[in-house]
């Protein structure tokens, strides 16, 4: 008869002979000592989230980069010659900021919504929720995967875009601040979607019918100054419009709205979504019945 579980008798004998820590049956943990960490559980959770998407790097990094590069090739390089410069910026360079924003926010959102929904659906989230990790550590740990994935996607896409179009960065500080705020906002939005989702269809719905249309209507491919007045008003109600404008300011130093307004809108979005997330994790709403 083959055995699946090693007979621990030898280990017990060794322990009885004086070595209480022998083998896999150590004495149980002391009950009256304060909790101490050799390495922060938060770091482990962050690492797990990053390792998860890196294992799927073709799907999580390469695919979205290629998808965005195709837009640059088709719209910027193939059709760009037939479109005049926009605000003095060649068209292939004009569309780069919006495409980078779209790639970053989609990566951050979809990473976190899928990792959390999968963890809820398969119930291995219980492994985290029953551990000594505090609610805010779980929130940060889960969100960090989307932040890093969004950042990596953006960097790779930007590097390719620089080579292909020669686009330059006029205001790096604006770009850094805008990137940080966008990553926080959409990483948290992904977490919220992952917590509320009841099926994979729900998350596909948000991506296809909310994020994608708002991105395209947010001025990725055009300047809203060229739209009729009514559509300009509608564009200003779209939060992604401000994200694109903040990025465009960082790249070319020009945008359709003041940079302060763009960053303020993104910051408010990040704060509101972070607050919502914090409430969900602190109360356990929808995570713990």
């Amino acid at each position: 008869m083959s055995s699946h579980v090693t007979d621990p008798a030898a280990v017990v004998a060794a322990r009885d002979a004086g070595d209480r820590c022998a083998g896999h049956l150590p004495p149980p943990a002391a009950y009256d000592e304060p909790f101490a960490e050799e390495r922060r559980g938060l770091l482990w959770l962050c690492e797990r989230e990053i390792v998860r998407f890196l294992k799927l790097w073709v799907q999580t990094i390469v695919a979205p980069v290629i998808s965005s590069l195709l837009f640059i090739v088709v719209f910027g390089m193939a059709l760009g010659d037939r479109i005049a410069d926009v605000d003095g910026v060649p068209y292939d360079q004009f569309i780069v900021p919006g495409l980078v924003v779209q790639a970053i926010l989609t990566a951050a959102y979809s990473n976190n919504s899928s990792t959390l929904f999968q963890a809820r659906s398969d119930r291995f989230l219980n492994d985290v929720l029953s551990s000594p990790l505090r609610w805010w550590e779980v929130n940060i740990g889960v969100a960090i995967g989307g932040v890093v994935r969004g950042l990596l996607t953006g960097i790779v896409l930007l590097a390719c875009a620089v080579v292909m179009t020669g686009v330059s960065i006029e205001q790096p500080l604006v770009l850094v601040v805008a990137t940080a705020l966008i990553l926080v906002a959409f990483a948290q939005l992904g977490v919220i979607a992952g917590i509320y989702a009841k099926s994979w269809d729900f998350m596909a719905f948000v991506t296809t019918l909310v994020i994608l249309p708002l991105s395209f209507l947010g001025g990725i491919f055009y300047s809203v100054d060229r739209l009729p007045e009514g559509w300009q008003v509608v564009s200003h109600l779209n939060p992604i419009f401000y994200l694109v404008q903040a990025f465009r300011e960082g790249f070319s130093g020009t945008s359709d709205v003041p940079i302060g307004l763009s960053l303020a809108v993104v910051a408010v979005l990040a704060v509101v979504l972070s607050g919502w997330c914090a409430w969900l994790f602190r109360t356990g709403h929808r995570l713990k019945p």
């Binding site: 008869m1 055995s3 699946h4 579980v5 090693t6 007979d7 621990p8 017990v12 322990r15 083998g23 896999h24 049956l25 150590p26 004495p27 149980p28 943990a29 009950y31 009256d32 000592e33 304060p34 909790f35 101490a36 960490e37 050799e38 390495r39 922060r40 559980g41 770091l43 482990w44 959770l45 690492e47 797990r48 390792v51 998860r52 294992k55 799927l56 999968q118 963890a119 398969d122 119930r123 291995f124 219980n126 492994d127 985290v128 929720l129 029953s130 551990s131 000594p132 990790l133 505090r134 356990g284 713990k288 019945p289």
Partner: protein
């Protein structure tokens, strides 16, 4: 499992000098103390109402009851996975949501809930990590438990590619990664073959012998009788009886624990008894 074998295990526990040593030390708070625990779910269904339960340190306690009796709700609450509506839960004297309490509890759930993106070794190492264990110690412990549970050859395999028995063993190993003082096994042998079940029983006994408190829920009555020092019968969210297997048999005038169970569950509903 013949009852004589159970008797032998118990006898060795009683005469074990380590037990005597434990008895001479200052009193350890109960491994689990549940007071006035009530859980009403969002839809208005009350799964558990006013439950009191105390499991002493070092006990091997079985919880038996039909589906819907409140076992999983109780375990979920103890493990910080369900929010109690009312009452207090303490683990070795610590409020159950504190980090001190959390690190003392290990849980092997009834459902196979393994991280599908990580391989066997990573499942174990990350679990230890969430409990604050450093990388070197976590990896060493993972290797140790993979060897114990015959999973070393599958260290790089992800859970979906494992057989049902291997997943069950991995679930068991994961619960032990941080050497919990209170191990909660929620139907740990559901769906496993007789051979593996016997091995898991034996291993669980050994864990108990070294001082781990074990809370076991099971639908296999012979499993509870073979393993547990004390059995609690839960029905409609209340403990209706608790005693050793012998004590329960005597109390219900039953030949075996199955008869005890049937008689206890066939009694008038708790609500009627209260009236």
């Amino acid at each position: 499992m013949p009852s004589s074998r159970v008797g032998a295990v118990r006898a060795s526990s009683i005469t074990d000098p380590r037990r005597a040593d434990q008895e001479s030390r200052p009193a350890v708070p109960p491994a689990l103390r549940v007071s006035g625990f009530t859980k009403t779910y969002a839809g208005g269904f009350t799964a558990v109402e006013g439950l009191d339960l105390e499991v002493p340190d070092g006990a091997f306690f079985g919880l038996l009851g039909p589906n819907g009796a409140g076992k999983t709700t109780l375990i979920g609450s103890v493990c910080n996975l369900v929010r109690p509506t009312a009452g207090r839960i303490e683990i070795f004297g610590h409020e159950h949501t504190t980090r001190e309490a959390r690190r003392l509890v290990g849980l092997a759930e009834q459902d196979i809930n393994l991280d599908r993106f990580m391989n066997v070794e990573e499942v174990l190492v990350y679990h230890a990590g969430y409990f604050g264990i450093g990388r070197a110690r976590a990896q060493a412990r993972a290797r140790e438990l993979m060897e114990v549970f015959d999973l070393s050859g599958k260290a790089r395999v992800r859970p979906p590619a494992l057989s049902g028995g291997m997943r069950r063993r991995l679930l068991f190993a994961r619960a032990l990664m941080h050497s919990p003082r209170l191990l909660i096994l929620d139907e740990p042998t559901a769906g496993v073959d007789v051979e593996l079940r016997t091995e898991l029983w034996e291993y669980t006994r050994r864990l108990h012998e070294v001082g781990t408190t074990i809370l076991l829920t099971t639908h296999y009555l012979e499993e509870a009788e073979a393993l547990c020092q004390e059995i609690g019968l839960i029905r409609e969210g209340r403990i209706i009886a608790r005693d050793s297997a012998d004590g329960l048999r005597a109390r219900y005038g039953a030949r075996d624990i199955a008869e005890v169970y049937l008689r206890a569950m066939a009694q008038k509903p708790v609500a009627e008894e209260r009236a």
